[in-house]
Every structure is written in structure tokens, then in C-alpha cells.
Symmetry: C2
Subunit: 150 residues, 2 copies
DNA sequence: TCGAAACAGTACCATTTTGGTCCTGTATCC
DNA sequence: GGATACAGGACCAAAATGGTACTGTTTCGA
């Protein structure tokens, strides 16, 4: 179905919740409550998002999480990559050369092109836009990408 | 990693092989040999592609498969959909309304927008282009999509 | 008319990935 | 020094995936 994992989906919800309170440090419990997700799950998500440098963590009493940079500077691609690793539709989109079928198939180039285009789409959607809930206010020229079918 | 299943990847290879012989009816064995894939796997792929109406099948001796329509009229989106069902990045991109968290999250709209854009990218890549192995010769205006990151 | 070739359909199994939970450690604040 | 809250693992159950096998059914050709 060409979909992202459920955790990635959850991660966007969690990031949106955090972005909605730019000034505060929110505890995992608060975020879980607001996002209507299980606490251990949210904890796991936040750890991964922290490793990717998208959120800052504070330990101890009154600790919690906060966006590491403004919502305008975080893209959907950042979140997807944090959760699923580098974006590439096929195995050989990333590590080319180690597919013994390469000579026979010849489709790897096309897949790489498509992967690049999709990366562009994901990169054009910012967390700020997702927070606003608006479809996709043009931010970069690359955004007119959407028309094709949408 | 946001990738398509391996079978989908294989399907593109198989389709490319068939497209390379537009006039002939190729047996599963021939295709498997040319694509360097296992025969039962190719058989499974072809059945799915047949159900989706992308290839025509002929039974009996000298039977086999052939493209159901010209390579220019088959897009990567067609192949992906044949293998993985409707394109949508998240569960609620397709069936909205049945997510009890919808009120809380508010990101579904953004995901739907992005899914649409990706669908456009996939639809802009035709089998003919994949066969040619060229990155993405402009065919429709929507094609300049690729730049963003590629 | 019969047998071989080749697709159709289905069922099955092993492996991997995914999603989710729990436990222990460590830092911070009061 | 104790309570709060994140860090970092390990761990497990369930589902999806990929691959295989078996049994029809159709068609051609001798």
C-alpha cells in the first residue's frame, strides 16, 4: 500500500502536539494524553525523535520534551527519516551496485528518480503547515509538485 | 524506510521485460529467465498484474503473457497499485472518519495532501520511460516535479 | 482423442518486521 | 535523600511478507 509505518504516523501527531506549545516543556505523560496514545509508545517515539535531533529532552523533575528548532524548520521528511531511516522506495535506491540483477533490470535509475521526487514532496511539507492543518501553502517553488493528480 | 515491497520492485522488472518484446507472447519461464527471478515468484506476480488488467494471459501450449496496452499507457502508479492496493501513506489517508483520534490529531489532511502528490509522481513515470532507462524525459508538465531533491 | 504445455487458483509455511511492554539506570529538583 | 521523569536496553506477541507446492483447467497438436 506504499505506506509509512504506524509509528511514523504517530510521530507526526506527537510532533504536532509539541509544536502546539512552542514555549513549554511537556512531559511524556502530557503528550501521551494529548495525542491519545499509550505512554510507553510515546516514550519510544520521543526517544527516536530525540536521537534525530528533532526534539530536545530535559531530565529530572519538571523535565520533558520541546522542539529542537522552530516548526517551520522541521519537515515531514525529517520526521519520516527519523523513524524509518533514509527515504528510498526500493532497496537499491540507496545501496546501488550490490544487486546482482542490476544488469538485467535497468529499472533502478527510474526508481531512484522517483524516490528523489518523493523526497522533495516530503521535504516541502513543514511541521508548521501540518500544525495549521492547511493543505499545503506554497513555501518553496518545488511545491507545485502536488497538482499532478491531487 | 518508506519503501515498496520487494514484490512490487520485482513487478517493475517483470513488466519492463515484457515491454521489451511488445509483439510477442512470453511464457512465465521465459520471463523468469530474463528477469533472473524464481519461476513461482514470477508466476505469482503475473497473476496479480493480470487481475489488475496490466497484462493479458493466454492459456494452453504456446500460451503466456503480453502487455494489455502500450507501455506508454502504463504508469508506475498502475503497477504499484496492482501490487499493493490504493496508494496512501497512512491508514486514514484512504478511509477517513474511522479513526477515533481524528479530532485530536489533525494531521490527516496533510497526509492526504502528501499522498496525492506522491501519487502524481508515480503516475508521471510510465513503463515506456522505465524501459528506456532514462531518468525521466519530460512527458507531461507535472514532470518537473523531480528537481526538489534529486 | 489423448497427452503435453502452460496458466489459474489456493493453501501453506518460514522468516522478518512491526508494534507494544517492561525493567533498570541516571539525572534533576525540592 | 527522595520523588519525578527521561535513557537505554531487552523482550515478546502478532502480523505481514516472501516464497513454495499442489491441484485444476484450458489449449494445441500429433
Amino acid at each position: 500500500m506504499l505506506r509509512v509505518s504506524r509509528l511514523t504516523d504517530y510521530a507526526t501527531v506527537v510532533m504536532t502536539c509539541i509544536a502546539a506549545h512552542p514555549a513549554e516543556v511537556l512531559s511524556t505523560a502530557q503528550i501521551a494524553d494529548e495525542a491519545k496514545l499509550e505512554l510507553p509508545t510515546v516514550s519510544k517515539l520521543l526517544k527516536m525523535l530525540g536521537h534525530a535531533g528533532l526534539v530536545e529532552s530535559f531530565r529530572g523533575v519538571n523535565g520533558g520534551y520541546r522542539l529542537a528548532r522552530p516548526a517551520e524548520a522541521i519537515s515531514l521528511a525529517d520526521i519520516v527519516e527519523a523513524m524509518e531511516g533514509p527515504i528510498g522506495l526500493t532497496e537499491c535506491s540507496l545501496a546501488q551496485g550490490q544487486c546482482e540483477r542490476l544488469s538485467a533490470c535497468g529499472v533502478s535509475g527510474s526508481w531512484r528518480t522517483v524516490s528523489g521526487a518523493i523526497d522533495g514532496v516530503l521535504r516541502a511539507m513543514t511541521l508548521a503547515q501540518m500544525l495549521a492543518g492547511r493543505p499545503m501553502a506554497p513555501v518553496r517553488s518545488a511545491t507545485d509538485t502536488a497538482q499532478a493528480t491531487a
